[in-house]
Amino acid sequence: MSEYLVRFSLKQRIEHLATMLIFTGLCLTGLPQKFYTAGWAQWTVRVVGGVDNARWIHRALGIALAVSTLAHFAGAFAAIVARKTGFNIVPTQKDFKDAIDTLKYYLGLSDRPAEFDRYDYKQKWEYWGLVVGNVIMIASGLILFYPTVAARIMPGQVIPAAKVAHSNEGLMAFLVITIWHIFNAHLNPDVFPFDTSIFTGKISRERMEHEHPLELARMEGGAAREHGGASAAHAGHKMG
C-alpha cells in the first residue's frame, strides 16, 4: 500500500466541488439559450419549465459563482497577507520554459519532461483561464441581468457586446473544461480513470514523485529542517 500525502485542504476541496456543481448548472441552463434552435436545447428548456425558469436558475447560479469567486479572492488575499501561502499559482518564467520543454519531450526532441513544483504550467493555465473567464462572465452577466442600470453608466452598445462576450466566453469555458479538464483529470494515462485527489485531498507519494517532484523535495527538505524528520504528510498538510 502506497503512502499518501495531503495535497488539497478541505477549503480547496469544497471550492472545487462548489465550482464544479455551479459550472455544470450554468452550462445546463446557459448553453440551451445560446443554441436555442436545437432540439436538445428546447428539450432542456422544457425540462426546467421554460426559458424564464432557466434564466432565473442561471442568474441564481451566476450570483453563487460571483460570491464563490469573491470569497476565493478574499481568502487568497488574506492567506498571502498572513504569509500562510506563497504565490505558488502565479506563472513564472519557469512555466514558459516548462511548457517548451514538455512540448520538446512530446515531440521526441528531448528525453525527459520538465519537472514541476506544486502546480504545473497546465494547471496554472487552467486556473488563470478560470479566474479571467469568471471575471468576464460575472461582469457581462451582470450587464445582461441589469441592462437598464448598465445603460445609465455605459454606452448602450456595451449591452450587445456583453451578450456576445458572455455567450462566446461561456462556450469557450465549456469546451476547455470538457476537452482539457476531462482529459487531464480522467483520461490522462497518469491518472486514468479518475484523479480523486481534489475530492479526497490525498495524493499518492508515487504520483507526487512523478508529477510534482520539486514540491516533494521542498516539502521533505523543509520538514526535515523544521521538525527533524517529521512525516512528509504533515508537512504537506501545512503546504495546503
Partner: protein, 347 residues
Amino acid sequence: MNRIGLALLIAAASLPARAAIPAEEDDCLSCHGTDKTMTLDLPSGEKVSLFVDQEVFAKSVHGDMLRCTECHADKTGYPHDSKPFKTRRDVAVAFYEQCKKCHFANYTKTLDGVHYALMAKGNTHAALCVDCHGSHAITRPAEPRTRISETCAGCHEPVYETYTKSVHGKALLAGSQDVPVCTDCHRAHDIPDPRSGALSLRTAEICGRCHTNEKLMSKYGLSTKVVDTYLSDFHGMAATLQKGKQKGEGIRLAAGCTDCHGVHDIQKTDDPTSHVLQANLVQTCRKCHPDANANFPAAWLSHYEPSWQKAPLVYAVQLFYKFIIPFMVAGIVLQIALHLWRVVVNR
C-alpha cells in the same frame, strides 16, 4: 374494370340535376321571390325579410349549385313549421351549422378560432359564417382584396380606421396587392385570440413571410435581414423558446415585431409617428423596460449586423472570439494528441 366503370356511370346519372333555381322556382320562389314585404316578425320586435332576390342569388357563388332546401333543410313542405326564434340573432345562429355540410374543413377551423370561443362562452355577437360571407349574396371574399378588411370593419371599425392610416393600410387603399389585409396576419377561420400574446410571439414568422421575400422587399428598398437579426438577438431567442406560451401572472413574453413597430398602426421607420423612429425609441423600450434611459436604445442594433461601421464594439468582441475559440480548442487538442502520442511511443 368495366363493372366499376358502369357503376360509376349509373351513380353519376342518378345524381340530382344541379340547376337549383329553375327546379325550385315554382315552389319556394313563387312566394319568397315575389313579395318584397314578406317578413318574419320576432318577439324582439325585429323583422327578418323573407324575400330572396333571384338575380342576386343567381350571381352568387352558389347560384347554380344549391337548392333552397340544402341550407333550409327543415323546410320540407307547406305550411312551414316556424322555429321559436326570439331575436334576429337567433335566426343567424340557427343557420350557422348549415355551411359545414359542404365546407367542413373551414368549419372545423372556426372551432379553433376566437369567434367560436366567444360564442361558446355565450357571446351571441361573435361572428358566424354568414356575418362575414353573407347568405344569399355570397361572392368570393377576396374580390376585390380591399373587401376583406372592409368585412372585418363591420364589427372592428376602430381597428380598421387605425389600419387604413398605417403604411400597409394606406398602400392597400391606393391599390397595392403586396400589403397584408386583416386575414393575412390573423387568418380567416382559425383566428387566434390576439390578447393571449401567442400571436405576437409568432410575428417573426408572420411578418417574415413578406419581409424575408427578396423580390417583394427589393421593390420597396427594404432589408430582408430583419428576421434573422431579430432572431439572433435576445428578444428573438427568448420568443423562440417561449413559443406556445401565453401571457399570465408573472409571465412576460419577449418582444416580437409588433411590440416595437406597432400592430395596426405600423408606419415607415422614418415616419415621425413611427414607434421605432430614433426620437420615439426610448418611449417604445419603456413599454417593457420602464427605467430605460436615452442610452438604452443603442443596446438594440436596429436590425443591423455588427460591423466596424455599425456597432464596432460588438463587432470587435465577435471577431476576438471568432479567432480565440478555434485557437484555444486547436491548441489543447494538439497538446493532448502530442501527450498521448508520447505515451504510446514510450511503450
